[in-house]
């Protein structure tokens, strides 16, 4: 678990982070969401001490990070950024091996780990291990970036708009790949984005920031259903909030016994998926895999 306590950062006269306290629960994705300049990236960089805090503290598993040597701290924390920042003069395998090599792992263990990670991010090792970063597409490079961040198996992962520069299709692929990896590995993640859809898709917790202040935080549904003020309500989509809400609710939660025609939706489908299916099929109910149907009436309830 990560705890931010009263973090403050000021550049000259400009307060970019104002007294932010927040805890990011274990094995969950906490999204720092906010418009540009809201201080979210600065907060992220204060966690691994790339930026020193003016005051306040960051605690990781009840240990004050101020007491840890910054380089040792950073080797324990995975970090993924928008620009990826792969070392252009090293091949993919060596990029991924960066932190294990710093930690002095034996060569064989590093090689095995690199192969395992490439498999995890769906880049076949025999095709990608020897490639240079310049030979990769944006999406492939970011997959390598994620593998590199996970290399030494850190319990904590910091991600700063890692998918923002990618085209929509690639972005969706990577978001799903990331979510799968996060669930499989149980990493604690702090994820910065300005993209609401991404926050709703990936976040177990969302912390909405504005002008360096934490406005509201909690599970995405809570922010959507009970916005603390107009800013939160606006940010969460105003008129589109109803549709967004459906993406966060599982279809199974509204299922009732019964049968319906047409293909069954996957068990983990959202109500949004169910509505989409009804619209495209012109029906008022759809069946789910594993039994039950969702009706339009139940959906609207």
């Amino acid at each position: 678990m990560i705890e931010l306590r009263h973090l403050v950062k000021t550049y000259g006269d400009v307060a970019v982070v104002r007294d932010v306290s927040l805890s990011a629960p274990e094995a969950a994705v906490t999204v720092l969401l906010g418009p540009p300049g809201s201080g979210k990236s600065t907060i992220l960089r204060m966690i691994n001490r790339l930026i020193p805090a003016d005051s306040g503290s960051v605690w990781i598993d009840d240990e004050d990070t101020a007491a840890i040597h910054p380089e040792a701290l950073r080797r324990r924390i995975g970090y993924v950024i928008q620009g990826v920042g792969l070392f252009p003069h090293w091949n993919v395998a060596r990029n991924i091996a960066t932190v294990p090599a710093l930690l002095g792992w034996p060569r064989k263990r590093i090689a095995a780990r690199v192969e395992q990670l490439l498999d995890m991010v769906n880049l076949p090792p025999d095709r990608f291990a020897e490639k240079r970063p310049s030979e990769l597409s944006g999406g492939q490079a970011q997959r390598v970036g994620i593998a590199r961040a996970l290399a030494a198996d850190p319990s904590l992962l910091l991600m700063d708009e890692p998918f923002s520069a990618l085209d929509p299709v690639t972005r969706r692929d990577l978001q799903q790949a990331f979510r799968r990896i996060q669930r499989d590995t149980g990493k604690t993640v702090v994820f910065v984005t300005h993209d609401l859809e991404e926050a709703l898709l990936l976040g177990d917790q969302v912390a909405l920031l504005r002008d360096g202040k934490l406005i509201q935080h909690g599970p995405p549904l809570q922010l959507l259903e009970h916005p603390a003020d107009d800013f939160v309500a606006d940010y969460f989509g105003g008129a589109a909030a109803g549709l967004r809400r459906l993406t966060l609710l599982s279809a199974a939660s509204r299922a009732v016994p019964g049968e319906a025609g047409g293909a069954r939706l996957p068990a983990q489908a959202s109500l949004h998926d169910a509505l989409e299916a009804m619209l495209s099929r012109g029906t008022e109910s759809v069946a789910l895999e594993g039994g039950g149907v969702v009706t339009l009436k139940a959906l609207l309830a």
């Binding site: 691994n48 040792a72 080797r75 620009g83 990826v84 920042g85 792969l86 070392f87 252009p88 960066t98």
Partner: protein
């Protein structure tokens, strides 16, 4: 399968590298041959320029002259690389940015005076010999080396440096493992510029007593022995060709 393809490809590349280097190797061998053969060309020069005694420059072996020539260039460019490289590293650190204006001043002053003028100024201060030549070439080489090194370091992408720091690299490690390797191609082009200029310019060092391949030329001019001028000019011309072959960039 792919391994086989890769290895034949690699062999092909190695072969073409040798082929590309062939002219350089041939001219290099010819250069050495001329240096070694020069003392034995007495009859030829005695026939071409009768009355000159001795017919061939003999106050030092041509191999020694060439070695001295290359050593002067090597020391000057080596020192300029060390100092210019260090200066470029300092001015690209966050704590060293204030050093940029004086560094720029020093390097541009070093290049704004022609080496011949620098030699004339230095001789009264440090005496005759190789020292003023080395200093003049050093001053001349500082600017291209420092500027290219600095440009190379500044061109390292910010996300790469940020990633290095975030993964727990110390500033030193980032410099050695990331910044310098990435800056190297650009830095190297600055060093090449300095070498190319210095190889030619070192010749005039002979006017103040440095032993270079220019020494027979100066000697021949002073004592009115055209044979000596030719004996110095021939290896120098070959050196110029060698330099071109070794350092010329492929034209796009």
């Amino acid at each position: 399968m792919s391994g086989v393809v890769a290895s034949t490809e690699r062999a092909g590349i190695a072969k073409s590298a040798v082929l590309r280097r062939l002219p350089l190797l041939l001219v290099g061998a010819a250069f050495l041959g001329v240096l070694l053969a020069m003392p034995h060309t007495g009859p030829l020069f005695a026939w071409a320029f009768p009355g000159t005694i001795p017919p061939v420059y003999d106050r030092g072996s041509f191999v020694a002259l060439a070695a001295s020539h290359l050593a002067i260039v090597g020391i000057a460019v080596g020192a300029a690389t060390f100092c210019g490289g260090a200066a470029a590293i300092v001015v690209t650190r966050s704590w060293g940015a204030s050093a940029a204006p004086p560094v720029q001043l020093i390097t541009s002053v070093g290049q704004s005076f022609p080496p011949a003028a620098v030699l004339a100024v230095l001789v009264p201060m440090v005496g005759f010999g190789a020292v003023p030549t080395v200093l003049a070439l050093f001053a001349y080489g500082l600017l291209p080396i420092t500027e290219n090194m600095e440009a190379g370091l500044r061109a390292v992408p910010a996300p790469v440096k940020e990633a290095a720091a975030a993964m727990g690299f110390s500033a030193w490690r980032t410099l050695l493992l990331v910044e310098l390797p990435l800056a190297w191609p650009q830095a190297f082009s600055g060093i090449l510029t300095a070498i190319v200029v210095s190889l030619g310019t070192a010749t005039i060092g002979s006017t103040v007593g440095a032993l270079t391949l220019g020494t027979p030329i100066i000697d021949g001019l002073v004592t009115n022995k055209p044979g000596f001028v030719l004996q110095g000019a021939l290896p120098l011309a070959m050196l110029a060709v060698l330099k071109e072959l070794a350092f010329a960039r492929p034209r796009r």
